[in-house]
């Protein structure tokens, strides 16, 4: 089948503003959008730039705005989208070139929530013990691949780029609810902020966008509940 692939192109060295280009691409219904992008790069325009690595939805490189929703280009098939496909860079993040956005701010926010185990007790000889129930408590949020699909789909983030964003809260959640961690208080302190959890308006765009199927909003609300519980 033939697909009209519309791509929002931008070359900072040549263009003043992003503009749409349309490519007619011969595609198999089982092709993924990433395959089409690779094809356009090989056959139509070698300068088309986008990030990709693993090719099967696990590294988080190729989150982009596809038919008006954030998804991973390597996880969405042509037959799920139809004959008209539009691809643009992730919304709300500064565009560097074509489909590549500036990610350092995103990772900076990730770092700001202390995303690492905090436990100053002397380490035991063997592994620390953890019950299966305690392990299950934070299982959902360990799945995050830091693709930024959620944060960049959040209207609250578009309005205020200072918002720490769902991805960072997910990462904080992963530790706050880990029975081995002792840094919950510090992280809750960081997130109890105008630009922390209070900026979430339960919009759920994040959940819809997450390629890992994480119930992000639940994680955020569990963190706000923990803050309320601690202060109240």
């Amino acid at each position: 089948m033939n697909v009209d692939l519309r791509i929002l192109r931008y070359d900072p060295e040549r263009d003043k503003a992003p503009h749409w280009e349309t490519y007619a691409v011969a595609a198999d219904p089982m092709d993924r959008v990433l395959d089409l992008l690779i094809k356009v790069k090989a056959e139509n325009d070698g300068s088309l730039s986008f990030r990709r690595s693993c090719g099967h939805g696990i590294c988080g490189s190729d989150a982009m705005l596809i038919n008006s929703r954030n998804r991973l280009a390597c996880r969405i098939r042509v037959d799920q989208l139809g004959k008209k496909i539009s691809v643009a860079p992730l919304p709300g993040l500064p565009v560097v070139k074509d489909l590549i956005v500036e990610m350092s701010g995103f990772f900076g926010k990730y770092r700001s929530v202390k995303p690492y185990l905090i436990n100053d007790q002397p380490e035991p000889e063997r592994e620390r013990l953890q019950t299966q129930k305690d392990r299950a408590r934070y299982d959902d949020t360990t799945k995050c691949i830091l693709c930024a699909a959620c944060t960049s789909a959040c209207p609250s983030f578009w309005a205020r780029p200072e918002y720490v964003g769902p991805a960072a809260i997910v990462q904080a959640h992963r530790f706050i609810f880990d029975s081995r961690d002792e840094g919950a208080a510090e992280r809750l302190e960081i997130l109890a902020d105008e630009n922390g959890v209070w900026r979430c308006r339960t919009i759920f765009n994040c959940v819809d966008a997450c390629p890992r199927g994480i119930n992000i909003t639940r994680a955020i609300l569990e963190v706000s509940s923990a803050i309320v519980g601690r202060r109240g």
């Binding site: 070359d11 900072p12 060295e13 040549r14 089982m30 993924r32 790069k41 090989a42 056959e43 325009d45 070698g46 300068s47 730039s49 986008f50 990030r51 990709r52 690595s53 693993c54 090719g55 099967h56 939805g57 696990i58 590294c59 988080g60 490189s61 996880r75 098939r77 037959d79 560097v96 070139k97 074509d98 590549i100 990610m103 350092s104 990772f107 770092r111 202390k114 995303p115 690492y116 185990l117 436990n119 380490e123 063997r126 592994e127 620390r128 013990l129 953890q130 019950t131 299966q132 392990r135 934070y138 299982d139 360990t142 799945k143 691949i145 830091l146 530790f175 880990d178 081995r180 961690d181």
Partner: protein, 582 residues
């Protein structure tokens, strides 16, 4: 720009991150350079698990693990290294738990373990539960946990900096020179920077992208391996490349061994469980090289599905509960990438290029060695899939790669810290970037009528897949060699359309293609010379293993007219080579 550091780590997969962490703990001024954001590294795709003889569920000993590793590698394994691997697997896994890795737990709260192909108790008696795991995303959790620890310890990351050259002081390595740093291109603006350091670690991962059908990431182009090769360091055992039996047809995405571990079966066009004929005892759970060969034989005999080049992986009989709870990723991949419903349909699979056993030769301290006497290149280190210690010999066992990253990543970091404490920092090298700049400019400025990188890459992947795949013979390999030479010539005339400097991914891909061509050349030459069948290297014209002639490692040196081959002894300490039956 010139950045002085004490240590540089190239690559932020499992191996690079652990090394960086050790260095940071030792207070060594370290920079990590990675062409991807660290969390995008391919370590994150590993699913199955990481083996360590913890004995949490049943009796287990590191000696057993070592034996399985040696036997699995068809005795080409260096046994001193395998001993280190099996012993230190235990402490590194425990350390990972201390760092916060969310392992699955046994009912009494310990790290849970499961069975995996080739791992046995009591020297081959019965399968043993040795693979520690975090659901079906063990690699993801290892990558995340190590990155988290690096953040905690303030490691400096240069994200999206692609290393394009290595620097040496006092001559090239073969003239006794020592590592002095690297040249890296910042992808965001295309500028070249030099990073000077006393110790340089290469942890750039594999190079499965020289094959058409591969489980490897687009970014796995063997950069570190090729750069060493270009600087006169030989590549070891390149002819051994593992094909994983169950890749998704056409695209190679991996369906983990766990599918067969849980009882999935392989079927041919006649609906036969054909593994009966090839490995009557272990059936589908025979080592990967054996299963892949069996599949190829079926396909050749015309028993592929519909006469085509794939077979079926069938999990239907396992029932919805097992499929959805224990194999969620596989189910998900089959649904998304094949449109197949594993609950009701068999999944079409075909062997997929998966893992490089060979690579940059190193000793057990992760120091790069440059000849058959294992002479160390001062200051240069390698670890992870790009290195060849060699703990995997001719065929790697499932889960042993992650162990390799942990054990030798950690050793690399420690040894680098020690080394960096005792030497002076190299002096700035004048014009360090000029050679690479010239090479890149040549591609960038060539009139756009030249060869296209995409076309050459496709051709290379086809040759390698069709002629240097699971089965090889003299004729195929000779033809492949000629073809690779021809492609190299075409690569010299490559041209691109993008003349910009910001994220010029076309330029980067053209360069990466050059790495792949170098590596392919070494691979084909090694394979052509090795007239025996061992592990993943199966010569149809030489079907037997020949310990008298070939129990030795290949070292391929780059020459003006193709690689020169030399050979190095295998270290044998505990286990004498025996026929490999399961």
């Amino acid at each position: 720009m010139d950045y002085p550091f004490d240590a540089i780590v190239v690559g932020a997969g499992g191996a690079g991150l652990w090394a960086a962490l050790e260095l940071a703990r030792e207070g060594v001024n370290t920079a990590v350079l990675t062409k991807l954001y660290p969390t995008r590294s391919h370590t994150g795709t590993a699913q199955g698990g990481v083996c360590a003889a913890l004995g949490n569920l049943e009796e287990d000993h590191w000696e057993w693990h070592m034996f399985d590793t040696v036997k699995g590698g068809d005795y080409l394994v260096d046994q001193d290294a395998a001993e280190v691997l099996a012993r230190e697997a235990i402490e590194t896994v425990i350390e990972l738990e201390h760092m916060g890795l969310p392992f699955n737990r046994t009912p009494d709260g310990k790290i849970d373990q499961r069975r995996f192909g080739g791992h046995t108790s009591n020297y081959g008696e019965a399968p043993v539960r040795r693979a520690c795991f975090a659901a079906d995303r063990t690699g993801h959790m290892i990558l995340q946990t190590l990155y988290q620890q690096c953040i905690k310890h303030g490691v400096k990351f240069f994200d999206e900096f692609g290393v394009v050259d290595l620097l040496f002081e006092g001559g090239e390595p073969d003239a006794g020179g020592r590592a002095a740093g690297v040249v890296a291109q910042r992808l965001a603006d295309g500028q070249l920077h030099t990073f000077r350091a006393k110790a340089v670690l290469l942890a750039t991962g594999g190079f499965g992208r020289m094959f058409r059908i591969t489980s490897n990431a687009h970014s796995l182009t063997g950069d570190g391996v090729a750069l060493c090769y270009r600087h006169g360091i030989p590549l070891q055992d390149m002819e051994f490349f593992q094909f994983h039996p169950t890749g998704i047809v056409g695209i190679g995405i991996l369906l983990s061994e766990a599918a067969r571990g849980e009882g999935g079966t392989l079927l041919n066009d006649l609906g036969e469980r054909f593994m009966e004929r090839y490995a009557p005892k272990l059936m589908e759970l025979a080592p990967r090289d054996m299963v892949s060969r069996a599949m190829y034989q079926e396909i050749r005999a015309g028993r592929g599905i519909g006469g085509k080049d794939y077979l079926y992986l069938d999990v239907r009989h396992l029932g919805r509960k097992v499929i959805e709870e224990k194999l969620p990723d596989i189910t998900d991949f089959a649904r998304i990438y094949q449109g197949v419903e594993p609950l009701t349909e068999p999944i079409p699979v075909q062997p997929t290029a998966h893992y490089a056993m060979g690579g940059i030769p190193t000793n057990v301290s992760a120091e790069v060695t440059r000849d058959e006497k294992s002479t160390v290149v001062p200051g240069l280190f390698a670890a992870g899939e790009c290195a060849c210690v060699s703990v995997h010999g001719a065929n790697r066992l499932g889960t042993n790669s992650l162990v390799d990253l942990l054990v030798f990543g950690r050793r690399a970091g420690r040894q680098m810290a020690r080394y960096a404490g005792g030497v002076e920092r190299p002096r700035p090298i004048p014009d360090a970037v000029e050679a690479v700049r010239a090479e890149l400019e040549a591609i960038r400025t060539r009139p756009s009528s030249g060869e296209s990188a995409a076309a050459i890459r496709t051709d290379l992947q086809d040759v390698m897949m069709d002629k240097v795949g699971v089965y090889r013979d003299g004729k195929m390999l000779t033809a492949a060699l000629a073809r690779v030479r021809e492609l190299e010539a075409r690569h010299d005339r490559i041209s691109i359309t993008d003349c910009g400097s910001v994220f010029n991914t076309e330029l980067i891909e053209a360069r990466e293609l050059g790495y792949l061509l170098d590596i392919a050349h070494a691979t084909v030459s090694g394979a052509l010379a090795r007239t025996e069948s061992r592990g993943a290297h199966s010569r149809e014209d030489y079907p037997e293993r020949d310990d008298k002639k070939w129990l030795k490692h290949t070292l391929a040196y780059r020459g003006t007219d193709g690689p020169t081959l030399r050979y190095k002894d295998v270290s044998i300490t505990r286990f004498e080579p025996k026929p490999r039956t399961y």
